[in-house]
């Protein structure tokens, strides 16, 4: 705890330094100072914080009382297993993204107030750490809002672009609307518990009140987590933000929404047991988000939008885990509960690693080629092999391929769902198994989507001149990628250990857990062994192949064009054509808009085909809603007509109405 507090103090210190530096004129010496001191402070603080997390028992609850100066609430903080699990990505990605951001901003930032950027970055990390440890409603809300607002200033970094302004606005509105629901949630919880910190000590509630709180939490936190109908800010904000920010937002910040839901559930004690529909609601919402996310992702041609939708998918998978855990608890099947909760946390940690990696890679692509539109990329693997390898690792991890880390979470979740076959009630069995089938579809589509993302962006021939001559990343740019890439591999091989760590954080008594964790750890050990064996086999095969080719005649030549000799990069498959078979199946869900044109005749000279998948929820639901409100407001503006007579008439009418109301009875 002490180390953790020192880390927080260091973050505060860094933030105040940066705030001061951002207000003075940006002369070169100050810029240099900020460039070095800002990220260094953040990285040091994150390292300290990380050390603080591993200091002492993982599951132990360590409370602390911070000084508090407001008339409401209090400064209660506590570290427990759940907080530690969620803090892991915050500190890990916080440091890595600061490193990467420092490398990419060092040269590129004429005119920007870099100190302000790093200030808000520090604030975000600090607020995240506080959100995850706060044990008081007001403290939590303040931290939450700081955490929600500071990304806004990070997203609007390139605000001379209209799309960035639009995106930052969408983010701000979504964040605030979610926060408003949370205001209601905490005020209600306060009322129920009688004090601002009562919620965090656990509330005993009637089912109706408990469900009201649960729904408020689900909507408020779900908006942050990017759950399906409330996800629309994600695909806008991530492409607009600088990539190191997207990585942190996607890998660490949206987890805070999940944390909120998770924490809320553990704190609500419903008389007569948790209502059954909670778990099903979460499972359904999770599956819906996962499917929506991945189907939309497969239709995107902007890499960062694709990654953003994939975050929606992964949050959905985590929520499915939470829902499974709830169902397990509710039906008294602790094995399923253990697996579900553990899956949620494991996948959360793993997601931070690979999504952070992928966003950072996307940032390097943007830096190298000036675009992340897949149809303008290609051939980057040959030109930037290390970057390509990092992306390949991330892509393989995100589609949950063993032996990388993504597999563990999905494995545990699928196992939890599959255990449903042993339950006595048929409807629960069917529900869980249907969810598992959905999960299988999601993972299949994810594989197709990331095959597209990596294959179209990095493989084949460059589709544009810029992609053919990219601005090569320096070692400083690449080193930060090594950490999450190593985490993808390392966490995959350390899956049993990760599971053991996470198991200590589960909201279940350890004696209940014990009979269920041991077999799972054994299974994970086998998975790791098989993975290691597979790596061995691969190594052997590679050596054998090399041996075979060494003796034989080999040559390099251009790709065989099936008889078409004038092969150019333009005849390659593009992202639109790659998605086509899925589009045929899911076009309705994907909301794709196909633009194809072809000259008439037998030998068309010109043809083009492109697809776009704008968010229909945003275009068909939210935009018209906002528009309608605006039109309503405009219509009502007639009452301020500018005529003084009318104004005085309003007064007269109000007076008479009040007198009539007051004395009629």
């Amino acid at each position: 705890m002490e180390l953790f507090l020192v880390a927080l103090a260091l973050l505060v210190l860094t933030a105040s330094f940066l705030a001061a530096a951002s207000l003075v004129p940006q002369v070169p010496s100050i810029r240099l100072c900020v460039h070095i001191a800002g990220p260094a402070g953040i990285i040091l603080a994150c390292a300290l914080g990380m050390a603080g997390l591993f200091h002492g028992s993982w599951g132990a609850v360590v409370p602390w009382q911070a000084p508090w100066g407001l008339p409401l609430g209090g400064g209660a903080l506590a570290l427990d297993g759940l907080s530690r699990c969620f803090l892991l990505p915050v500190f890990g990605l916080g440091a890595v993204c600061a490193f990467s951001g420092a490398a990419s901003l060092f040269h590129h930032d004429i005119g920007h107030n870099i100190a302000a950027h790093w200030f808000f970055y520090t604030l975000l990390v600090l607020a995240l750490a506080l959100v995850l440890t706060a044990r008081d409603s007001v403290f939590f809300l303040i931290s939450w809002e700081l955490m929600s607002l500071s990304p806004f200033f990070l997203i609007e970094f390139d605000d001379h672009e209209a799309s960035v302004r639009e995106a930052s606005w969408v983010y701000l509105v979504a964040a605030h609307l979610g926060a408003v629901v949370l205001l209601g949630f905490f005020a209600l919880a306060w009322h129920m518990g009688g004090s601002s910190s009562a919620l965090f000590a656990g509330l005993s509630l009637s089912p109706a009140m408990g469900s009201a709180l649960f729904v408020l939490a689900l909507v408020g936190f779900g908006a942050k987590a990017g759950l399906a109908p409330m996800h629309i800010w994600l695909p806008e904000a991530h492409p607009a933000a600088p990539s190191h920010v997207s990585a942190l937002l996607s890998g660490a910040m949206i987890n805070a929404g999940l944390y909120g839901i998770f924490r809320t559930y553990t704190l609500l004690d419903i008389q007569g047991g948790t209502p059954a529909w909670w778990g099903w609601c979460l499972l359904l919402l999770g599956l819906g988000s996962a499917l929506t996310g991945i189907i939309k992702a497969s239709g995107q041609s902007n890499l960062k939008r694709l990654l953003a939708y994939s975050s929606v998918e992964n949050m959905g998978i985590m929520l499915m885990g939470l829902g499974t855990g709830l169902i397990g608890m509710q039906t008294g099947h602790m094995g399923i509960a253990t697996l579900g909760f553990a899956a949620c946390l494991i996948h959360m940690i793993n997601h931070a690693a690979f999504k952070g990696l992928l966003f950072l890679c996307a940032g390097e692509i943007l830096h190298a080629v000036q675009t992340v539109r897949l149809d303008l990329l290609g051939g980057l693997q040959q030109r930037m092999p290390l970057l390509g390898a990092a992306f390949a690792v991330g892509a393989a991890a995100i589609i949950c391929l063993p032996p990388l880390n993504g597999f563990a979470g999905e494995f545990v979740l699928a196992l939890g769902l599959a255990t449903g076959v042993t339950l006595p009630q048929m409807e629960i069995q069917l529900g869980l198994l249907a969810a598992l089938t959905g999960l299988a579809l999601v993972s299949g589509l994810a594989a197709a989507t990331f095959a597209k993302a990596y294959g179209i962006a990095f493989l084949g021939e460059p589709r544009t001149r810029l992609a053919a001559n990219p601005h090569l990343p320096t070692a400083y740019n690449l080193v930060p990628l090594a950490f999450p890439a190593a985490a993808c591999l390392g966490l995959g091989l350390a899956a049993p250990q990760l599971f053991a760590l996470v198991a200590q954080a589960l909201p279940l008594p350890q004696e209940v857990l014990a009979p269920h964790t041991a077999p799972l750890r054994a299974s994970l050990h086998t998975v790791v062994l098989v993975g290691l064996a597979g790596m061995g086999i691969v190594a052997l095969l590679v050596l054998w192949r090399r041996h075979l080719l060494r003796g034989a005649y080999s040559q390099k030549n251009s790709t065989w064009g099936c008889g078409f000799q004038k092969g150019t990069a333009r005849i390659q498959y593009t992202d639109a054509s790659f998605t086509d078979p899925q589009t045929e199946v899911f076009s309705r869900l994907m909301g794709v808009q196909v633009q194809s044109s072809m000259d008439k005749g037998y030998f068309p000279a010109h043809a083009s085909y492109s697809i776009e998948a704008p968010d229909r929820l945003r275009l068909r639901l939210y935009a018209p809603l906002f528009d309608a409100v605006r039109r309503l407001c405009d219509a009502c503006k007639i009452i301020q007509s500018g005529r003084i007579h009318l104004y005085i008439l309003y007064m007269l009418a109000t007076l008479v109405a009040l007198l009539l109301w007051g004395f009629a009875a």
Partner: protein, 501 residues
């Protein structure tokens, strides 16, 4: 004596101002009035608080008991004093710049020519305005309070008509007419109070003390009628919907420092009038009646403000409507009673500081961009970085986001709504706050972000005078959002206690 100085200092300063011919003299005089008034109000506050805590200390009384401040009034007095200081600092820079411009200027909208009112008269009215507010906040005599509020109208009308062009005149006329009529109704409210207590009448000038202590003997029907008239009357001045119509016009046309004072200090004074009535009704056991009305008008004001904020392109009108919203929140908080009253007191403090800052900043924007339309202001962060930074912060503050003071007050009001299980009120409150946030975010962000339009004059010099007061106010609201000094807490709690907690 100190108490009397609160009144005499600005009066004397204002009179001297009429004869001060050099700019430096006027500036010094203004600063002297502001600082002197500040010191006097702090001393008065200290004396009153001491007297409240310990009977051995004598409470300050002046003018034969007409001036007899209580904690509730002192909250607003201190606010008025602080805001006046900020506005005076700003005024020095502002008037110096106005002096430097050509005497006959072109209006940036229709191109018609106009002149400024003489500075002596403007500054004198500013001082008289302060004197009137001091009277309002220190008296316990409803008649004197009424006179004070009427005088604020009469002295602030010339302030609004500083730039002598058509729109300003229109705004001034509307302000003058609507507020005069409104205050006339409030006067009737005073009369009805007297009728309610008839044939008894207070023997000295501490009417409030008498009314509160004898409230149970009064006629409830007359008290209700009196409160209705007070509410409509002072509500007009305070800007409760649907009586708020003068407010956006006057605030948008007045020089920004005047708007800041109107919004931050004057509206509070009018609210004090309503609070006095509420105190009496509370004491008479009719608190439910007055609370119900306050809650209703509070929500109605928030709704009206939301309707006008969404799609509002004119940034000073936007701020004015936001004042309507916040006055609604104040009324709501007081109407809800209990812990919400404390929230309302805190809200009054934080709103005044924030709104004053925003209006002063709006003055900077207007000076630089020569437009009141938020559509034509872009890229403030590049041309005027500190203003933009404070402007964006002010937007977050005024919409009640942490870490600013308004978050604490809005949340404590919300919390009390839920504690009293008025879930529909709570839902309406939250929905309206959300709509207002979305509505305000669009123009504010549009102004801060983006690329500066090509026609903008090259550079804006941010000086101590034009951003200094704003920065100090900004610092104050951040501080209040993170740390509440214990003395302020107890001060506000005492005020809330008086206002019917």
């Amino acid at each position: 004596m100190v108490l009397l100085l609160l009144l005499l200092l600005p009066l004397a300063g204002g009179t001297a101002m009429l004869f001060a011919s050099s700019f430096t003299l006027r500036a010094l005089l203004l600063m002297a009035v502001a600082l002197g008034h500040n010191i006097c109000s702090l001393l008065t506050t200290r004396q009153t608080l001491l007297a409240a805590g310990d009977p051995a200390h004598a409470a300050p009384v002046a003018l034969g008991g007409v001036l007899c401040p209580d904690v509730l009034g002192l909250v607003f007095l201190c606010l008025a004093s602080a805001l006046f200081t900020a506005a005076s600092c700003y005024a020095i820079g502002y008037l110096r710049d106005e002096d430097a411009k050509a005497p006959v200027r072109r209006h940036f909208q229709d191109g018609s020519s106009f002149t400024n009112a003489p500075q002596q008269r403007f500054l004198a009215c500013l001082c008289f305005f302060l004197a009137a507010m001091s009277l309002v906040t220190t008296t316990q005599h409803l008649g004197a309070l009424w006179v004070g509020i009427e005088v604020t109208t009469l002295t602030s009308a010339p302030l609004i008509y500083f730039h002598r062009h058509k729109e300003a005149l229109e705004a001034t006329w509307k302000y003058l007419m609507i507020c005069s009529v409104g205050i006339a109704l409030a006067l009737l409210g005073n009369v009805l109070f007297s009728i309610a207590f008839y044939p008894e009448a207070p023997q000295d000038h501490n009417q409030m003390l008498y009314y509160i202590s004898h409230a149970t003997k009064a006629q409830p029907a007359w008290l209700k009628a009196a409160f209705i008239f007070l509410l409509v009357g002072f509500g007009t001045k305070m800007g409760l919907a649907p009586l708020h119509n003068w407010l956006p016009d006057a605030h948008s046309q007045a020089p920004s420092l005047v708007s800041a004072l109107l919004s931050g200090a004057l509206l509070n004074c009018a609210f004090l009038g309503i609070l006095r009535g509420h105190q009496v009704l509370n004491a008479a056991g009719l608190g439910e009646f007055s609370s119900g009305l306050l809650v209703f008008f509070g929500l109605l004001s928030m709704l009206t403000a939301a309707l006008f904020i969404v799609g509002q392109g004119h940034y000073k009108r936007l701020l004015a409507y936001s004042s309507v919203e916040h006055m609604g929140i104040l009324a709501l908080g007081v109407g809800l009673g209990g812990a919400a009253v404390y929230g309302a007191m805190l809200h009054a403090v934080c709103h005044s500081l924030t709104k004053c800052m925003l209006f002063l900043l709006a003055g900077n924007v207007l000076t630089h961009y020569h437009t009141l339309s938020s559509y034509d202001v872009r890229g403030m962060r590049w041309t005027m970085p500190i203003t933009a930074c404070l402007w964006a912060g002010g937007f977050l503050a005024i919409t009640g986001s942490p870490p600013f003071g308004l978050f604490v007050s809005e949340f404590s009001i919300l919390q009390h709504i839920f504690t009293t299980e008025r879930y529909f009120v709570g839902a309406a409150y939250l929905v309206l706050l959300a709509v207002i946030f979305v509505g305000m975010s669009i123009p504010f962000l549009r102004m801060v972000q983006g690329v500066t339009p090509p026609a903008t004059p090259p550079a804006f010099k941010e000086t101590v005078f034009n951003v200094g007061p704003c920065a100090v106010l900004g610092l104050l609201i951040v501080t209040l959002g993170l740390y509440m000094p214990p003395w302020l807490d107890s001060f506000l709690r005492q005020a809330a206690h008086l206002a019917g907690e």
